[in-house]
Amino acid sequence: MNRAVPDVVLEPGDADEAAELLRGAASNGLALLVRGHGTRASQGALPRDVDAVFSTARLGAVETYEPGDLTLTVGCGIGLAALHDLLAERGQWLPLQAERRRGTLGGLLATAADGVVDLGYGRPRDLVLGARVALADGLVARARGRVVKNVAGYDVPRLLVGSFGTLGALLEVSLRVAPRPARRTAALLGYASVADALLAAERVREGRDEPVFVDVLAGACEPQLALGFDGSEERVAGCRRRAVAAAERVGCTGLMLLDDDASAELRRRLDDPVAHLLPEDEGARPGVVVRWSGRPSLLGGWLSAALAAAERAGVAVRADARPALGLGFLGLTGDDADALEATAREVLTLGRRRGAAVLLAAPDTLRGEPEDVWGPPPADWSLMERTAQALDPQRVFSCGRFVGGL
């Protein structure tokens, strides 16, 4: 089985070239894989054999940036580092993985990547206003637009966000950006158990201090609660004081208040769950990252069962749970490949009983089948298939990475 990335790369410099290259590829019956910097290329199931890569590398031009409107229209091939630098020059930011800054904007959107401050500012889908996309037969089309409120026509941009490049290629997007908050602080609290840390997170959630992140960290060290606050000096000082007080009442074992610099360091660590839970500085040990999503009230049950399973198997584990979002990430590492794989499967099975559990990172042996990575096709699978059939009937972009083998 040859699943190497092919040498043939289609690299358009604008929409017209994209259309022409895609028409050429279609007439030759080529199967394509959309790619930016390749940062997230190991996500999803192993792609089937593809004939060529459709690269967004030359599609990174800034079309319009209107700081006064808080909107930006830019090519999807732009690197996140360049994008964040551009916005910072005008005192603005795009809160999506603003600390980690790896890969392209297109890759972040196509994988609907999680970021540390999603609770405060929204997920990728919430910040996308419009898009220009290229379909497999060379049709290039815009949908929605670059104004912050718009209901003209179908919401194709959001449909493409998180589609892993399987419906078409995102060429350009319009985004809602935000003024950079004056202060960005954080607090870290220690707890004797994960249950206590989760309870403290719940106390914070019951308050009305609008934290931008509430993360329960476990595994590598004693369980911790990480809280983030953005806004004016008065806002962050007052809200942090109250939220910390509420969290401390749940038998906290230690407290650290982080200023903006230390907070930035913490945010950088939490921004990308894969990088956080499989730290590169600990060597290239084989690892697995599982992402659980579902009702917030079910998160604790999965998390404690998953941590216990890892402990039983003697597999190193660390976790980052975001109770307010109903999200949990679990990283497993170990040199015993069989134990690692068995534990990963157990954690996935536990997660899929009441919620969704997917693999964000895993050795190839675990990524062979879409169902291993994504779980069984969801209830609305037939509608997804119908949608793929409408936009990509020849399945040019359906390389098998996504749900149900799309």
Partner: protein
């Protein structure tokens, strides 16, 4: 072999009960139009299903007979989206109005599509929660209609529109199947985003799960009056430029000020040419400072007066002024026609000048009440004589305003939808390729072409006959 339409009505009466199938022309009149369209068309019949299974049965019967069907909530839509074209059946969902559950721990509510928007927040209030999108019609409009139109409202500037709050729906597909469409966090395509705002052309939603939020701890409401809309617009840009994201930023022009004074006896400074309503909400820490900063920016941009609504009663009065502004216009004109265009916020002064020029050229008056923070305009064209010549002028003026919105990089509709009203105007905003992509989706999801046909996408020549009419102003 398809049965005759009469056979369809008979089968629907058997399935739902005779009292749930309206066919009497005198009763159908109510369902000819929605909230404010300039057009109407009589449906073949109106049916009132009691649940998902009955909706699916109606859809299947319509498919078997080749008859179009369209879902309808409270009928408050403003673009003709719930009109039954092609001799279709109206599937009225306003009697499916049960709140099925409020999950306090997970902060979500599950409701039938006929539940009123405000009823969700009322039911959630005792748990300290609310449903954020708040269209001006929220006391009447339904969640099903909100999903169809991706409804917004004054507070969407900070809290987002319907699509940001829908967690899942039960859908009767255009081919009559019942499917639960999961939230944005289940693996797979974001079909909820596709369905929200699709104006009922991709199926009928029979159950909605929405996110509830914690009621903000504090609220500060300011009402600033300015000599003219240009200075008020400059203040809006300066507030946003200062890094402040208010919960709401609403503007009303001099015509509305006059109407509010006449209707409700509000007293504003005599030379007020524009009102700006700015509301901040969130945690108490820092909230007074934010309100003070907003007031300062307003004064620096020539505000004549900045009032703070400090009590719940005062806030209610300020919001009454905003939410009843359309009603108050009944004091100054017999009829009105509301537009819904969007522009990049920094182009507000340019756009408002254009609106005034267009109105003057056609000899019409226009009032502006709009969501200034997100550049969503609602120019309201006022007229007294309900005759064909005036109606033609009003429609032309509305079209010119929309064209300018598109020229400035904006959109045809921010929250009212395309419906019938703007479907031909879609060609102003979108190229043939853009429309082709949308058609591919529509064709795949509605292969029979019977699910609310004639909406959203342009038909070109030879479309359905509509009889224009003007809407009698309220009051």
């Amino acid at each position: 072999m398809t049965a005759t339409p009469d056979a369809l009505l008979a089968s629907l009466a058997r399935r739902l009960g005779q009292d749930r199938v309206l066919t009497d022309p005198s009763e159908l009149v109510v369902y000819e139009a929605d909230g404010s369209t300039m057009h109407d068309v009589t449906p073949r019949a109106v049916v009132f299903p009691r649940g998902t299974e009955e909706v699916a049965a109606v859809v299947q019967a319509c498919l078997a007979n080749g008859v179009a069907f369209v879902a309808r909530g409270a009928g408050t839509g403003l673009s003709g989206g719930a009109m039954a074209l092609d001799g279709g059946i109206v599937v009225a969902l306003n009697r499916m109005d049960r709140i099925l559950g409020i999950d306090v721990e997970d902060r979500r509510a599950t409701v039938e599509p006929g539940v009123r928007n405000l009823a969700v927040s009322e039911a959630a209030a005792r748990h300290g929660l609310f449903y954020a999108p708040d269209p001006s019609s929220q006391a009447v409009c339904t969640l099903g209609g909100n999903v169809a139109h991706n409804s917004g409202g004054p507070h969407t500037l900070k809290h987002g529109v319907t699509v940001n709050h829908v967690l899942g729906v039960q859908l009767v597909t255009p081919w009559g199947e019942v499917v639960r469409v999961g939230g944005p966090d289940r693996p797979g395509y974001d079909l909820l985003a596709l369905l929200t705002g699709a104006e009922g052309t991709l199926g009928i939603v029979t159950e909605v799960e929405v996110a509830l939020r914690r009621i903000p701890e504090g609220v500060r409401t300011l009402l600033a009056s300015f000599p003219d809309v240009d200075r008020a617009s400059a203040a809006v840009s300066a507030i946003i430029g200062a890094g402040i994201v208010p919960a709401a930023l609403e503007m009303m022009d001099d015509v509305v000020v006059g109407a509010l004074e006449a209707a409700f006896g509000f007293a504003f400074p005599s030379d007020a040419g524009a009102l700006l309503l700015v509301e901040s909400d969130g945690p108490e820490p820092g909230l007074d400072r934010e309100a003070a900063d907003v007031a300062e920016v307003c004064r620096a941009h020539g505000a004549l007066d900045v009032r703070s609504a400090d009590t719940a009663a005062e806030r209610a009065e300020v919001w009454t002024a905003r939410k009843k502004a359309f009603g108050a216009l009944g004091r100054v004109a017999r009829h009105y026609y509301t537009q819904d265009g969007v522009i990049p916020r920094t182009r507000l002064p340019d756009m408002l000048r254009h609106v005034r020029e267009v109105a003057a050229r056609h000899g019409l008056r226009v009032a502006n009440v709009f969501h200034a923070g997100d550049g969503n305009l609602h120019p309201c064209i006022l007229f007294d004589e309900d005759d064909a010549a005036t109606r033609a002028k009003v429609l032309e003026a509305g079209a010119e305003i929309l064209r300018h919105c598109v020229e400035l990089g904006g959109s045809l509709t921010g929250e009212h939808g395309v419906g019938v009203e703007k479907r031909e105007a879609m060609a102003l905003l979108f190229s043939e390729s853009d429309l082709e992509l949308m058609r591919r989706l529509s064709d795949a999801w509605d292969p029979a072409g019977l699910c609310n046909p004639g909406k959203v996408l342009p038909m070109g020549a030879g479309c359905v006959e509509l009889s224009p009419r003007a809407r009698q102003a309220a009051l």
